[in-house]
């Protein structure tokens, strides 16, 4: 299982630069998810690793071997495409076995392999169907099976679930997680869906505008985002941002904004290295608890604007001064629109970002 390393990878289309020096190392048997909003260069990065796009600058190393000049077929990888890219004129079995047949493997071996991967993805009953006679989910499995059959150590996936409906996507996501444990491969998974990334990946790489914003384990990225973009991108519902100003009152540092004045825990305040200036306060909805008795310095008073019922929980969109704050609340809590509720902030869950650079403080 090889290590893939991207070294200062740059991609230009004409004089438009879409990737600005991507440095990344993906280790043995690691599931890496590239996430980011549409157009941030995820697919481009993946296609450059696959060899489907040329490299403008920089180099790609697979096990310390530079590969940027190699043909896709010589890089030893398999890929699942967003639109599945099945061969329409071949039945499922022939789709799956195409790479093996090109390698002129013995027929018995090919048959065994086809049966094995068809078993893994649950396609055994459909081997003689053409892709045109399969549903979206089945096609997705064929694409997965075809990539698995190749036995290559690197497995690339470009938004493999994005063409499926929500329910099927959830189911396939779970199956993917199971498959992930059965096959030992270096996987790179592109998605714009942060839930897929969080649930599947060992490591998440957040991209934005052709730059890597941050990389690390899902927990690392969730707990200590490097900047405001990563903080807002991961987590659902997304983190709330409030403009505020730092000020010392006695021994304690406070973040003061419209309608709130929240104490910063002493430890965090020490590491900030500043005691005044404008900062953005970030608090995740899950870190706000309804508590009418919370003391002023750890509380937000929020006026309910919209309540979205989603079952056990309701998502409330509230006004805090001129900003909107999203909170989650058990559905049985009785609330009225325009009512003002007090929420306690978990002190250790306070994030602060520099107003200008948007970097975490």
């Amino acid at each position: 299982m090889p290590e893939i390393r991207l070294d200062g990878l740059v991609k230009r289309y004409g004089n438009v630069q879409v990737l600005h020096g991507i440095d990344l190392a993906m280790h043995d048997n690691e599931f890496t998810a590239l996430v980011g909003p549409s157009g941030c260069g995820k697919s481009t990065t993946l296609r450059m690793i696959a060899g489907l796009e040329g490299v403008s600058e920089g180099e790609i190393y697979i096990d310390d071997r530079p590969v940027s000049q190699l043909d896709p077929k010589d890089r030893g990888l398999a890929m699942v495409f967003q639109d599945y890219a099945l061969y329409p004129h071949m039945d499922v079995a022939r789709n799956i076995s195409f790479a093996l047949r090109l390698q002129k493997r013995p027929k018995a071996e090919i048959d065994a392999k086809v049966r094995e991967v068809a078993e893994i993805v649950g396609l055994t009953d459909f081997l003689s169907r053409k892709p045109g006679a399969l549903s979206g989910g089945q096609r997705q499995r064929v694409a997965m099976a075809r990539a698995l059959a190749k036995d290559s150590d690197i497995f690339l996936m470009d938004e493999p679930l994005s063409n499926l409906d929500a329910k099927l996507r959830g189911q396939m996501r779970a199956e993917l997680a199971i498959m992930r444990q059965r096959v030992q491969k270096n996987m790179i998974y592109v998605t714009h869906d942060q839930i897929e990334a969080m649930t599947l990946a060992d490591r998440i790489v957040v991209m934005h505008g052709g730059y890597i914003q941050q990389q690390g384990s899902p927990a690392e990225l969730f707990k200590s985002p490097a900047n405001k973009f990563v903080a807002g991108f991961l987590g659902s519902p997304p983190m709330n941002f409030l403009s505020s100003t730092l000020a010392m009152e006695g021994d304690t540092l406070f973040a003061k904004g419209q309608g709130f004045n929240i104490a910063i825990p002493a430890e965090k305040a020490k590491s900030l290295g500043r005691t005044d200036g404008a900062v953005t306060l970030g608090i995740r909805p899950s870190d706000l608890n309804h508590d009418p008795n919370a003391p002023d310095e750890t509380a937000l008073d929020l006026q309910v604007q919209v309540s979205e019922y989603i079952g056990a929980q309701s998502v409330l969109i509230c006004a805090c001064g001129s900003a909107n704050v999203t909170v989650e609340l058990k559905s049985e809590t009785p609330i009225a629109l325009n009512e003002t509720l007090r929420f306690a902030v978990r002190p250790e869950a306070i994030h602060l970002f520099d107003d200008k650079t948007e970097l975490a403080l």
Partner: protein, 303 residues
């Protein structure tokens, strides 16, 4: 009259003028030709004065070595040009399906021959094939080689070459269009699966282009059976009967031999042959449609 009924009739009303024109311009001449083919008919006679001879014209033709010769020339001509044009046209399309600077200009140049009037093509090639002053032989001689008796000894081949020159572009355009509408990602998947350029052509591109190619070949074949002007201008069917395709023999039978009935019967033979090809083509598309429908049903049953 109820509105519903009026609504049902309206489309036919709108179609009526076209149907009438079709009947007059298409069916009447066709019927006239079939009728004439059963008669012994000299151009000086009006059709009413002619004598009914039953299938005599057809039977005579069937055993006429000259007609058989001309039929076999036609078949050889049609199948060789279509084969050569398919190979060249598809091959060129495969070669030129890429984004190189100046490619669109090149593609435009390629399709020029198709736009030249057939008579002009014939004249042009007759000049180029001329034994002494023609382009080909002058070039050969300037290189110290013997001239070739293009329109004499090798008349059929020469005619075939001219037709290939004119009609390869037709195949080329259609093949290129088919090629460019292929699913890009399937080809990318093939590249990742380890297919070389050649394997991509054999295993992915050609099979996916096949429906278009089959129809293109049939269209070209039907057209090649009816070619007249280019050959008329280049060789007038000679030397001997070596390039006398059926269309040419029909026109000679009617004008030189003054046997309109036989000419009509000959046209009908050609028509039947073409009809067979057309029916073949239709069945093929029908089969494909039926298969697509069956697949669609299969999906529905799954869900």
């Amino acid at each position: 009259m109820s509105t519903a009924r009026a609504n049902r009739i309206t489309p036919y009303l709108f179609m009526a003028p076209a149907a009438v024109i079709m009947a007059i311009a298409l069916l009447y001449p066709l019927g006239f030709m079939v009728y004439g083919s059963f008669r012994d008919w000299d151009p000086s006679q009006s059709i009413g004065e002619t004598e009914f001879v039953g299938f005599k014209n057809y039977v005579t033709l069937w055993f006429d070595p000259a007609f058989r010769e001309s039929l076999s020339v036609t078949l050889i001509f049609a199948f060789s040009v279509v084969t050569a044009e398919m190979i060249l046209g598809v091959g060129l399309a495969l070669l030129l399906d890429r984004n190189i600077r100046g490619m669109s200009l090149l593609r435009t140049l390629f399709i020029l021959p198709m736009m030249i009037a057939p008579v002009v093509v014939g004249l042009m090639w007759r000049y180029m094939y001329h034994p002494t002053v023609g382009t080909f032989n002058r070039t050969l001689k300037s290189m110290g080689l013997e001239g070739v008796d293009w329109l004499g000894q090798h008349a059929l081949l020469s005619v075939i070459i001219a037709d290939i020159w004119q009609w390869t572009p037709f195949i080329f355009i259609l093949a290129l269009a088919a090629l460019q509408s292929l699913p890009r990602s399937a080809l990318e998947a093939a590249r990742i699966d380890g297919a070389t350029a050649w394997q991509q052509i054999i295993h992915i591109k050609l099979p996916l282009m096949m429906p278009v190619l089959v129809v293109t070949a049939l269209l070209r074949l039907i057209d090649a059976f009816k070619v007249l002007e280019v050959i008329l201008v280049m060789t007038e069917g000679g030397p001997g009967l070596s390039t006398e395709i059926v269309a040419l023999r029909i026109s000679r039978t009617a004008t030189e031999f003054r046997e309109l009935g036989t000419a009509a019967a000959m046209s009908n033979y050609l028509l039947i042959l073409l009809l067979l090809f057309t029916i073949g083509m239709f069945t093929l598309t029908r089969l494909q449609e039926a298969r697509a429908k069956r697949l669609a049903r299969q999906i529905q049953e799954d869900e």
